[in-house]
Protein backbone atom coordinates (compact mmCIF):
# COMPACT_ATOMS: atom_id res chain seq x y z
CA UNK A 1 0.00 0.00 0.00
CA UNK A 2 2.75 2.47 1.03
CA UNK A 3 4.79 1.44 -2.03
CA UNK A 4 1.92 1.82 -4.55
CA UNK A 5 3.13 5.09 -6.07
CA UNK A 6 6.76 3.96 -6.02
CA UNK A 7 5.89 0.72 -7.83
CA UNK A 8 3.98 2.73 -10.43
CA UNK A 9 7.10 4.86 -11.03
CA UNK A 10 9.20 1.70 -11.38
CA UNK A 11 6.90 0.53 -14.19
CA UNK A 12 6.58 3.93 -15.89
CA UNK A 13 10.19 5.12 -15.76
CA UNK A 14 12.52 2.14 -15.19
CA UNK A 15 15.45 4.01 -16.79
CA UNK A 16 15.12 7.21 -14.76
CA UNK A 17 17.52 7.95 -11.93
CA UNK A 18 16.07 7.00 -8.53
CA UNK A 19 19.02 7.06 -6.11
CA UNK A 20 22.34 8.87 -6.26
CA UNK A 21 25.24 8.47 -3.90
CA UNK A 22 28.91 9.19 -4.38
CA UNK A 23 30.27 6.66 -6.93
CA UNK A 24 26.97 4.78 -7.25
CA UNK A 25 23.70 5.52 -9.08
CA UNK A 26 20.57 3.40 -9.35
CA UNK A 27 17.64 3.69 -11.75
CA UNK A 28 14.08 2.84 -10.70
CA UNK A 29 14.36 -0.41 -12.67
CA UNK A 30 17.57 -1.51 -10.94
CA UNK A 31 16.33 -0.42 -7.53
CA UNK A 32 13.18 -2.55 -7.76
CA UNK A 33 15.15 -5.52 -9.07
CA UNK A 34 17.52 -5.40 -6.11
CA UNK A 35 14.70 -4.85 -3.62
CA UNK A 36 12.99 -7.93 -5.11
CA UNK A 37 16.02 -10.11 -4.38
CA UNK A 38 16.00 -9.01 -0.73
CA UNK A 39 12.24 -9.56 -0.44
CA UNK A 40 12.48 -13.06 -1.93
CA UNK A 41 15.32 -13.99 0.42
CA UNK A 42 13.30 -12.74 3.40
CA UNK A 43 10.37 -14.88 2.29
CA UNK A 44 12.73 -17.84 1.91
CA UNK A 45 13.69 -17.20 5.56
CA UNK A 46 9.97 -17.48 6.35
CA UNK A 47 9.45 -13.86 7.36
CA UNK A 48 5.72 -13.35 7.90
CA UNK A 49 3.66 -10.27 6.97
CA UNK A 50 3.95 -7.65 9.70
CA UNK A 51 7.02 -9.27 11.25
CA UNK A 52 9.81 -6.81 12.21
CA UNK A 53 13.08 -6.87 10.23
CA UNK A 54 16.00 -4.70 11.40
CA UNK A 55 18.10 -2.57 9.04
CA UNK A 56 21.75 -2.56 10.14
CA UNK A 57 23.00 -0.07 7.52
CA UNK A 58 23.80 3.65 7.47
CA UNK A 59 21.64 5.87 5.28
CA UNK A 60 22.31 5.36 1.60
CA UNK A 61 21.49 3.13 -1.34
CA UNK A 62 22.03 -0.20 0.46
CA UNK A 63 19.73 0.82 3.31
CA UNK A 64 17.04 1.95 0.84
CA UNK A 65 17.25 -1.40 -1.00
CA UNK A 66 16.94 -3.25 2.32
CA UNK A 67 13.94 -1.17 3.42
CA UNK A 68 12.07 -1.60 0.12
CA UNK A 69 12.94 -5.31 0.20
CA UNK A 70 11.50 -5.68 3.71
CA UNK A 71 8.30 -3.85 2.73
CA UNK A 72 7.88 -5.90 -0.47
CA UNK A 73 8.12 -9.05 1.68
CA UNK A 74 5.28 -7.62 3.80
CA UNK A 75 7.59 -7.12 6.78
CA UNK A 76 7.91 -3.98 8.86
CA UNK A 77 11.36 -2.42 9.10
CA UNK A 78 13.28 -1.35 12.21
CA UNK A 79 16.09 1.03 11.19
CA UNK A 80 19.01 0.95 13.65
CA UNK A 81 21.11 3.94 14.64
CA UNK A 82 24.58 2.44 14.27
CA UNK A 83 26.04 5.20 16.47
CA UNK A 84 24.35 3.47 19.41
CA UNK A 85 26.55 1.30 21.63
CA UNK A 86 26.15 -2.48 20.94
CA UNK A 87 24.26 -3.00 24.23
CA UNK A 88 21.52 -0.60 23.13
CA UNK A 89 21.31 -2.10 19.63
CA UNK A 90 21.04 -5.57 21.12
CA UNK A 91 18.21 -4.37 23.35
CA UNK A 92 16.29 -2.95 20.37
CA UNK A 93 16.73 -6.10 18.27
CA UNK A 94 15.46 -8.22 21.18
CA UNK A 95 12.64 -5.85 22.15
CA UNK A 96 11.32 -5.61 18.58
CA UNK A 97 11.58 -9.41 18.23
CA UNK A 98 13.02 -9.03 14.74
CA UNK A 99 13.12 -12.12 12.54
CA UNK A 100 16.08 -11.00 10.43
CA UNK A 101 18.74 -8.27 10.57
CA UNK A 102 19.64 -6.95 7.09
CA UNK A 103 23.14 -5.66 6.43
CA UNK A 104 26.18 -6.09 4.23
CA UNK A 105 29.26 -8.27 4.76
CA UNK A 106 29.64 -9.86 8.21
CA UNK A 107 27.28 -9.74 11.19
CA UNK A 108 28.37 -7.46 14.06
CA UNK A 109 29.88 -9.30 17.03
CA UNK A 110 26.94 -8.61 19.38
CA UNK A 111 24.38 -10.26 17.09
CA UNK A 112 23.26 -13.89 16.87
CA UNK A 113 24.55 -14.78 13.38
CA UNK A 114 21.40 -16.82 12.62
CA UNK A 115 19.51 -13.53 12.39
CA UNK A 116 21.92 -11.97 9.87
CA UNK A 117 21.19 -11.62 6.16
CA UNK A 118 23.76 -10.01 3.86
CA UNK A 119 21.76 -8.23 1.15
CA UNK A 120 24.62 -8.68 -1.34
CA UNK A 121 24.27 -12.44 -1.00
CA UNK A 122 20.58 -12.55 -2.03
CA UNK A 123 20.12 -14.43 -5.33
CA UNK A 124 18.06 -12.80 -8.09
CA UNK A 125 14.41 -13.76 -7.58
CA UNK A 126 10.87 -12.40 -7.62
CA UNK A 127 9.05 -12.42 -4.28
CA UNK A 128 5.48 -13.63 -3.76
CA UNK A 129 3.20 -10.58 -3.92
CA UNK A 130 1.90 -9.67 -0.45
CA UNK A 131 -1.32 -7.75 0.15
CA UNK A 132 -0.87 -4.95 2.64
CA UNK A 133 -3.65 -2.74 3.98
CA UNK A 134 -3.31 0.78 5.29
CA UNK A 135 -3.45 -0.69 8.80
CA UNK A 136 -0.48 -3.05 8.23
CA UNK A 137 2.67 -2.09 10.12
CA UNK A 138 5.40 -0.58 7.94
CA UNK A 139 8.06 0.65 10.37
CA UNK A 140 9.04 0.75 14.03
CA UNK A 141 11.14 3.80 14.91
CA UNK A 142 12.91 3.59 18.26
CA UNK A 143 13.23 6.72 20.37
CA UNK A 144 14.17 7.31 23.97
CA UNK A 145 11.49 5.92 26.33
CA UNK A 146 10.08 7.33 29.56
CA UNK A 147 10.05 3.80 31.02
CA UNK A 148 13.85 3.77 31.17
CA UNK A 149 14.45 1.84 27.93
CA UNK A 150 14.31 2.73 24.22
CA UNK A 151 10.74 2.62 22.94
CA UNK A 152 9.47 1.76 19.46
CA UNK A 153 6.82 3.86 17.74
CA UNK A 154 4.95 1.62 15.28
CA UNK A 155 3.82 3.32 12.06
CA UNK A 156 1.30 1.83 9.65
CA UNK A 157 1.48 1.95 5.87
CA UNK A 158 -1.47 4.34 5.93
CA UNK A 159 0.10 6.74 8.45
CA UNK A 160 3.35 7.08 6.50
CA UNK A 161 1.53 7.37 3.17
CA UNK A 162 -0.76 10.10 4.58
CA UNK A 163 2.25 12.23 5.49
CA UNK A 164 4.35 11.46 2.39
CA UNK A 165 1.50 12.17 -0.03
CA UNK A 166 0.52 15.35 1.76
CA UNK A 167 4.12 16.66 1.81
CA UNK A 168 4.62 15.69 -1.83
CA UNK A 169 1.54 17.77 -2.73
CA UNK A 170 2.62 20.68 -0.53
CA UNK A 171 5.83 21.21 -2.49
CA UNK A 172 4.39 19.89 -5.76
CA UNK A 173 7.01 17.17 -6.37
CA UNK A 174 7.43 16.01 -9.97
CA UNK A 175 9.78 13.65 -11.85
CA UNK A 176 11.93 16.70 -12.70
CA UNK A 177 12.85 17.21 -9.05
CA UNK A 178 16.29 16.34 -7.66
CA UNK A 179 16.01 16.06 -3.88
CA UNK A 180 18.90 16.02 -1.38
CA UNK A 181 18.79 13.52 1.48
CA UNK A 182 20.68 13.71 4.77
CA UNK A 183 18.28 12.21 7.31
CA UNK A 184 19.04 8.81 8.83
CA UNK A 185 16.20 6.35 8.22
CA UNK A 186 15.47 5.96 11.96
CA UNK A 187 14.05 9.53 11.98
CA UNK A 188 10.49 10.04 10.75
CA UNK A 189 11.71 12.86 8.46
CA UNK A 190 13.16 10.18 6.18
CA UNK A 191 9.68 8.99 5.16
CA UNK A 192 9.43 12.06 2.90
CA UNK A 193 12.65 11.06 1.11
CA UNK A 194 11.78 7.39 0.66
CA UNK A 195 8.07 7.52 -0.14
CA UNK A 196 7.29 11.15 -1.09
CA UNK A 197 10.26 11.69 -3.40
CA UNK A 198 10.42 8.20 -4.94
CA UNK A 199 6.61 8.04 -5.12
CA UNK A 200 6.75 11.16 -7.32
CA UNK A 201 9.35 9.73 -9.73
CA UNK A 202 11.98 12.29 -8.67
CA UNK A 203 15.58 11.40 -7.83
CA UNK A 204 17.02 11.24 -4.30
CA UNK A 205 20.64 12.37 -3.82
CA UNK A 206 22.35 11.21 -0.64
CA UNK A 207 24.60 13.96 0.69
CA UNK A 208 28.09 12.51 1.26
CA UNK A 209 28.54 12.42 5.04
CA UNK A 210 31.86 14.29 4.93
CA UNK A 211 30.05 17.37 3.58
CA UNK A 212 27.92 17.95 6.68
CA UNK A 213 31.07 19.18 8.44
CA UNK A 214 32.28 21.29 5.47
CA UNK A 215 29.47 23.81 4.76
CA UNK A 216 31.11 25.56 1.79
CA UNK A 217 31.61 22.24 0.00
CA UNK A 218 28.04 21.26 0.92
CA UNK A 219 26.60 24.31 -0.84
CA UNK A 220 28.91 23.70 -3.82
CA UNK A 221 27.57 20.12 -3.95
CA UNK A 222 23.94 21.30 -3.80
CA UNK A 223 24.71 23.61 -6.72
CA UNK A 224 26.53 20.97 -8.80
CA UNK A 225 23.80 18.40 -8.27
CA UNK A 226 21.19 21.02 -9.26
CA UNK A 227 19.23 20.11 -6.13
CA UNK A 228 15.64 21.41 -6.18
CA UNK A 229 14.52 20.55 -2.64
CA UNK A 230 15.64 19.22 0.74
CA UNK A 231 13.91 18.15 3.97
CA UNK A 232 16.35 18.43 6.87
CA UNK A 233 16.95 19.72 10.40
CA UNK A 234 17.34 23.44 11.21
CA UNK A 235 20.88 22.95 12.47
CA UNK A 236 22.33 22.00 9.07
CA UNK A 237 20.50 24.87 7.40
CA UNK A 238 21.76 27.28 10.07
CA UNK A 239 25.31 26.04 9.47
CA UNK A 240 24.81 26.55 5.72
CA UNK A 241 23.52 30.10 6.25
CA UNK A 242 26.35 30.93 8.67
CA UNK A 243 29.36 29.48 6.84
CA UNK A 244 28.07 27.99 3.58
CA UNK A 245 29.54 30.67 1.31
CA UNK A 246 26.02 31.25 -0.09
CA UNK A 247 26.95 34.70 -1.40
CA UNK A 248 29.16 32.95 -3.98
CA UNK A 249 26.86 29.92 -4.33
CA UNK A 250 23.35 31.16 -5.06
CA UNK A 251 21.62 27.71 -5.31
CA UNK A 252 19.43 28.84 -8.22
CA UNK A 253 17.68 25.49 -8.61
CA UNK A 254 16.60 25.17 -4.99
CA UNK A 255 12.77 25.52 -5.03
CA UNK A 256 12.03 24.53 -1.44
CA UNK A 257 13.45 23.64 1.96
CA UNK A 258 11.45 21.77 4.59
CA UNK A 259 12.72 21.59 8.14
CA UNK A 260 11.62 19.88 11.37
CA UNK A 261 12.98 18.20 14.47
CA UNK A 262 13.82 21.24 16.55
CA UNK A 263 13.01 24.94 16.79
CA UNK A 264 14.78 27.01 14.10
CA UNK A 265 16.36 30.01 15.91
CA UNK A 266 14.77 33.01 14.17
CA UNK A 267 17.99 35.05 13.60
CA UNK A 268 19.57 32.07 11.78
CA UNK A 269 16.38 31.56 9.79
CA UNK A 270 16.43 35.25 8.80
CA UNK A 271 19.99 34.83 7.49
CA UNK A 272 18.94 31.78 5.50
CA UNK A 273 15.82 33.50 4.12
CA UNK A 274 17.91 36.49 3.02
CA UNK A 275 20.57 34.29 1.36
CA UNK A 276 17.96 32.26 -0.55
CA UNK A 277 15.34 34.85 -1.52
CA UNK A 278 13.49 32.64 -4.02
CA UNK A 279 13.40 29.37 -2.04
CA UNK A 280 10.11 28.49 -0.32
CA UNK A 281 10.75 27.59 3.35
CA UNK A 282 8.46 25.41 5.45
CA UNK A 283 8.52 24.70 9.19
CA UNK A 284 7.05 21.22 9.85
CA UNK A 285 6.15 20.14 13.37
CA UNK A 286 5.12 17.00 15.21
CA UNK A 287 6.40 14.30 17.57
CA UNK A 288 7.31 10.89 16.07
CA UNK A 289 3.89 9.58 17.20
CA UNK A 290 2.12 11.99 14.82
CA UNK A 291 4.89 12.33 12.20
CA UNK A 292 3.90 15.85 11.09
CA UNK A 293 0.74 17.48 12.42
CA UNK A 294 1.45 21.22 11.84
CA UNK A 295 3.16 23.29 9.19
CA UNK A 296 3.97 26.92 8.51
CA UNK A 297 5.21 28.37 5.26
CA UNK A 298 7.74 30.99 6.26
CA UNK A 299 6.56 34.51 5.47
CA UNK A 300 9.80 36.45 5.27
CA UNK A 301 8.25 39.82 6.12
CA UNK A 302 6.95 38.42 9.43
CA UNK A 303 10.30 37.22 10.80
CA UNK A 304 11.36 39.15 13.91
CA UNK A 305 14.69 38.24 15.51
CA UNK A 306 13.48 37.81 19.10
CA UNK A 307 10.21 36.03 18.25
CA UNK A 308 9.90 32.29 17.74
CA UNK A 309 8.22 31.31 14.47
CA UNK A 310 4.76 29.71 14.57
CA UNK A 311 4.19 26.01 13.95
CA UNK A 312 1.24 27.18 11.89
CA UNK A 313 -1.73 25.23 10.58
CA UNK A 314 -2.95 21.63 10.88
CA UNK A 315 -1.14 19.40 8.37
CA UNK A 316 -2.00 16.25 6.43
CA UNK A 317 -5.63 16.08 7.50
CA UNK A 318 -4.84 16.16 11.23
CA UNK A 319 -7.32 17.55 13.75
CA UNK A 320 -5.84 19.56 16.60
CA UNK A 321 -7.24 20.31 20.03
CA UNK A 322 -5.79 22.31 22.93
CA UNK A 323 -6.60 21.03 26.43
CA UNK A 324 -7.87 24.16 28.21
CA UNK A 325 -6.28 23.54 31.61
CA UNK A 326 -2.81 22.50 30.56
CA UNK A 327 -2.54 23.98 27.02
CA UNK A 328 -1.46 20.51 25.89
CA UNK A 329 -1.75 19.77 22.18
CA UNK A 330 -3.93 16.78 21.27
CA UNK A 331 -3.81 15.33 17.78
CA UNK A 332 -5.87 12.84 15.83
CA UNK A 333 -5.87 12.02 12.17
CA UNK A 334 -4.40 9.92 9.38
CA UNK A 335 -0.69 10.44 10.18
CA UNK A 336 -0.96 9.06 13.73
CA UNK A 337 1.17 5.99 14.52
CA UNK A 338 -0.64 2.81 15.58
CA UNK A 339 0.95 2.73 19.01
CA UNK A 340 4.09 1.69 20.88
CA UNK A 341 5.65 -1.64 20.05
CA UNK A 342 5.99 -3.62 23.22
CA UNK A 343 6.81 -7.29 23.76
CA UNK A 344 5.88 -8.26 20.24
CA UNK A 345 2.55 -6.44 20.20
CA UNK A 346 1.00 -2.99 19.90
CA UNK A 347 0.16 -0.80 22.85
CA UNK A 348 -2.08 2.03 21.64
CA UNK A 349 -1.45 5.55 22.95
CA UNK A 350 -4.70 7.12 21.75
CA UNK A 351 -7.75 7.59 23.95
CA UNK A 352 -11.19 6.21 23.02
CA UNK A 353 -11.87 9.08 20.63
CA UNK A 354 -8.56 8.58 18.84
CA UNK A 355 -6.75 11.58 20.37
CA UNK A 356 -3.05 11.43 21.18
CA UNK A 357 -1.88 13.77 23.95
CA UNK A 358 1.49 15.04 22.69
CA UNK A 359 2.93 16.53 25.89
CA UNK A 360 3.67 19.70 23.91
CA UNK A 361 2.40 23.04 25.19
CA UNK A 362 0.87 25.17 22.44
CA UNK A 363 -1.38 28.17 21.90
CA UNK A 364 -3.59 29.32 19.04
CA UNK A 365 -3.11 32.95 18.02
CA UNK A 366 -4.78 34.53 14.98
CA UNK A 367 -5.47 31.11 13.50
CA UNK A 368 -1.87 29.91 13.91
CA UNK A 369 -0.52 27.41 16.41
CA UNK A 370 2.56 28.28 18.44
CA UNK A 371 4.82 25.93 20.41
CA UNK A 372 5.78 26.80 24.00
CA UNK A 373 7.83 23.82 25.17
CA UNK A 374 7.15 20.49 26.83
CA UNK A 375 4.83 19.64 29.70
CA UNK A 376 6.68 16.56 30.90
CA UNK A 377 10.35 15.88 31.44
CA UNK A 378 11.26 14.89 27.88
CA UNK A 379 14.27 16.76 26.46
CA UNK A 380 15.19 17.55 22.87
CA UNK A 381 18.96 17.25 22.44
CA UNK A 382 20.44 18.03 19.01
CA UNK A 383 17.14 17.02 17.42
CA UNK A 384 16.98 13.70 19.27
CA UNK A 385 14.34 13.05 21.83
CA UNK A 386 15.76 12.11 25.21
CA UNK A 387 13.80 10.83 28.20
CA UNK A 388 15.66 11.65 31.45
CA UNK A 389 14.26 8.41 32.91
CA UNK A 390 16.32 6.38 30.45
CA UNK A 391 19.58 8.03 31.56
CA UNK A 392 18.57 7.73 35.22
CA UNK A 393 17.81 4.02 34.80
CA UNK A 394 21.29 3.45 33.35
CA UNK A 395 22.96 5.42 36.17
CA UNK A 396 20.91 3.80 38.93
CA UNK A 397 21.98 0.37 37.69
CA UNK A 398 25.65 1.18 38.46
CA UNK A 399 27.14 -0.20 41.69
CA UNK A 400 27.65 2.43 44.36
CA UNK A 401 25.08 4.87 42.96
CA UNK A 402 22.52 5.72 45.63
CA UNK A 403 20.39 8.35 43.93
CA UNK A 404 20.40 10.40 40.75
CA UNK A 405 18.35 12.81 38.67
CA UNK A 406 18.68 14.23 35.18
CA UNK A 407 17.51 17.71 34.24
CA UNK A 408 17.67 19.57 30.92
CA UNK A 409 19.88 22.62 30.62
CA UNK A 410 19.00 25.07 27.88
CA UNK A 411 21.58 25.32 25.15
CA UNK A 412 21.74 27.93 22.36
CA UNK A 413 22.34 25.46 19.54
CA UNK A 414 21.72 21.95 20.85
CA UNK A 415 18.28 22.88 22.22
CA UNK A 416 18.86 21.16 25.54
CA UNK A 417 21.54 19.05 27.15
CA UNK A 418 21.13 16.51 29.92
CA UNK A 419 22.85 17.31 33.22
CA UNK A 420 23.24 14.67 35.92
CA UNK A 421 23.11 15.17 39.67
CA UNK A 422 23.99 12.13 41.74
CA UNK A 423 24.72 10.73 45.14
CA UNK A 424 27.20 7.87 45.28
CA UNK A 425 29.36 5.84 47.66
CA UNK A 426 33.08 6.68 48.00
CA UNK A 427 34.28 3.75 45.87
CA UNK A 428 32.54 5.13 42.76
CA UNK A 429 34.04 7.93 40.62
CA UNK A 430 32.67 10.23 37.91
CA UNK A 431 35.37 8.99 35.53
CA UNK A 432 34.05 5.45 35.99
CA UNK A 433 30.42 6.51 35.49
CA UNK A 434 31.37 8.45 32.36
CA UNK A 435 33.17 5.39 31.01
CA UNK A 436 30.26 3.02 31.60
CA UNK A 437 27.65 5.41 30.21
CA UNK A 438 29.64 5.87 26.99
CA UNK A 439 29.20 2.12 26.42
CA UNK A 440 25.45 2.13 27.12
CA UNK A 441 24.05 5.37 25.77
CA UNK A 442 24.48 7.19 22.45
CA UNK A 443 26.55 10.43 22.41
CA UNK A 444 23.53 12.80 22.51
CA UNK A 445 22.35 11.16 25.78
CA UNK A 446 25.67 11.59 27.62
CA UNK A 447 25.37 14.01 30.55
CA UNK A 448 27.05 17.32 29.76
CA UNK A 449 27.50 18.17 33.40
CA UNK A 450 28.02 16.06 36.53
CA UNK A 451 27.21 17.26 40.00
CA UNK A 452 27.93 15.17 43.09
CA UNK A 453 25.68 15.90 46.07
CA UNK A 454 25.25 14.49 49.58
CA UNK A 455 21.56 14.20 48.87
CA UNK A 456 19.15 15.32 46.16
CA UNK A 457 16.94 18.32 47.00
CA UNK A 458 13.37 17.27 47.78
CA UNK A 459 10.06 19.00 48.35
CA UNK A 460 8.10 18.65 51.59
CA UNK A 461 6.08 15.81 50.03
CA UNK A 462 9.25 13.85 49.29
CA UNK A 463 9.22 14.45 45.52
CA UNK A 464 12.37 15.64 43.79
CA UNK A 465 12.67 19.42 43.67
CA UNK A 466 13.65 19.84 40.02
CA UNK A 467 13.59 23.60 40.20
CA UNK A 468 16.16 23.72 43.00
CA UNK A 469 18.20 21.05 41.29
CA UNK A 470 18.34 23.13 38.14
CA UNK A 471 19.42 26.19 40.12
CA UNK A 472 22.22 24.19 41.75
CA UNK A 473 23.34 22.76 38.40
CA UNK A 474 23.35 26.16 36.72
CA UNK A 475 25.30 27.71 39.58
Amino acid sequence: MLLELFLLQCRQRPDSLALWEQDRHLTYGKLIRQAHTVAASLQARNIQPGQPVAIHLDRGIDAAIAIFGALLAGACYVPLDLKNPPARLAFIVADAQVGVVLGTAKAPAWLDTDLWLDIDSCPEAIPQPIETSSESLAAILYTSGSTGQPRGVALSHGAIAAFANWASGLVDLSPDDRIASSTPFFFDLSTFDLYGVLGAGASLHFIPSTLTTAPARLSAWLQEQAITGWYTVPLLLAFLAYKGNLAQTPLNNLRFLLFAGEVFPTPALMDLAASLPRTALYNLFGPTETNVCCYWQVQRERLVADQAIPIGLPAAGCELHIEPETSELWVRGPTLANGYWSEGGLRPFQNDQGWYATGDRVSLENGEYRFHGRLGRMLKCSGYRVEPAEIEAAVNALPGVMDCAVVGMDDPTAGQRPALALVFEPEMTIAEIRKVLSKQLPPYMQPSRYLVLDELPRLANGKLDYQRLRTILEG
Binding site: T212, T213, A216, L235, K435, P443
Partner: protein, 77 residues
Amino acid sequence: MKEKLKTFIFSELIYHEDPSSFGDDDDLLEAGLDSMGIMRLIMFAEKEFGVTLPDTEIEPDNVQSLNALERWIKQAA
Protein backbone atom coordinates in the same frame (compact mmCIF):
# COMPACT_ATOMS: atom_id res chain seq x y z
CA MET B 1 44.77 29.19 23.06
CA LYS B 2 44.88 25.41 23.02
CA GLU B 3 43.83 25.22 26.68
CA LYS B 4 40.88 27.54 26.05
CA LEU B 5 39.81 25.44 23.07
CA LYS B 6 40.17 22.25 25.05
CA THR B 7 38.18 23.58 27.99
CA PHE B 8 35.38 24.72 25.68
CA ILE B 9 35.27 21.48 23.70
CA PHE B 10 35.20 19.19 26.71
CA SER B 11 32.73 21.19 28.74
CA GLU B 12 30.37 22.18 25.91
CA LEU B 13 30.68 19.76 23.01
CA ILE B 14 32.07 16.36 23.97
CA TYR B 15 31.08 14.93 27.33
CA HIS B 16 31.98 11.27 27.40
CA GLU B 17 35.75 11.61 26.99
CA ASP B 18 38.08 12.26 29.87
CA PRO B 19 39.90 15.50 28.89
CA SER B 20 42.96 14.72 31.02
CA SER B 21 43.77 11.69 28.86
CA PHE B 22 42.95 13.36 25.52
CA GLY B 23 46.08 14.30 23.56
CA ASP B 24 46.61 17.37 21.39
CA ASP B 25 46.82 15.21 18.27
CA ASP B 26 43.94 12.87 19.18
CA ASP B 27 41.04 12.77 16.74
CA LEU B 28 38.22 15.10 17.77
CA LEU B 29 35.92 13.96 14.97
CA GLU B 30 36.25 10.35 16.07
CA ALA B 31 35.55 11.44 19.64
CA GLY B 32 32.17 12.75 18.50
CA LEU B 33 32.66 16.33 17.30
CA ASP B 34 29.84 16.68 14.74
CA SER B 35 28.59 19.45 12.45
CA MET B 36 26.71 21.10 15.30
CA GLY B 37 29.81 20.98 17.48
CA ILE B 38 31.97 22.43 14.71
CA MET B 39 29.53 25.28 14.19
CA ARG B 40 29.56 26.15 17.89
CA LEU B 41 33.32 25.78 18.07
CA ILE B 42 33.74 28.22 15.19
CA MET B 43 31.37 30.74 16.78
CA PHE B 44 33.33 30.42 20.02
CA ALA B 45 36.74 30.76 18.35
CA GLU B 46 35.74 33.77 16.23
CA LYS B 47 34.45 35.60 19.30
CA GLU B 48 37.12 34.51 21.75
CA PHE B 49 40.15 35.13 19.51
CA GLY B 50 38.72 37.92 17.34
CA VAL B 51 39.30 36.14 14.03
CA THR B 52 37.15 35.43 10.98
CA LEU B 53 37.50 31.84 9.83
CA PRO B 54 36.84 31.69 6.06
CA ASP B 55 33.85 29.57 4.97
CA THR B 56 35.89 27.55 2.51
CA GLU B 57 38.42 26.53 5.16
CA ILE B 58 35.87 24.79 7.38
CA GLU B 59 37.14 21.33 6.55
CA PRO B 60 37.65 18.18 8.61
CA ASP B 61 41.45 18.60 8.34
CA ASN B 62 41.34 21.92 10.18
CA VAL B 63 39.20 20.71 13.08
CA GLN B 64 40.58 17.18 13.41
CA SER B 65 42.68 17.80 16.53
CA LEU B 66 43.53 20.50 19.04
CA ASN B 67 46.85 21.09 17.27
CA ALA B 68 45.16 21.42 13.87
CA LEU B 69 42.62 23.87 15.28
CA GLU B 70 45.30 26.03 16.85
CA ARG B 71 47.31 26.07 13.62
CA TRP B 72 44.25 27.04 11.61
CA ILE B 73 43.07 29.81 13.94
CA LYS B 74 46.58 31.33 14.24
CA GLN B 75 46.87 31.33 10.47
CA ALA B 76 43.55 33.19 10.12
CA ALA B 77 44.52 35.82 12.70
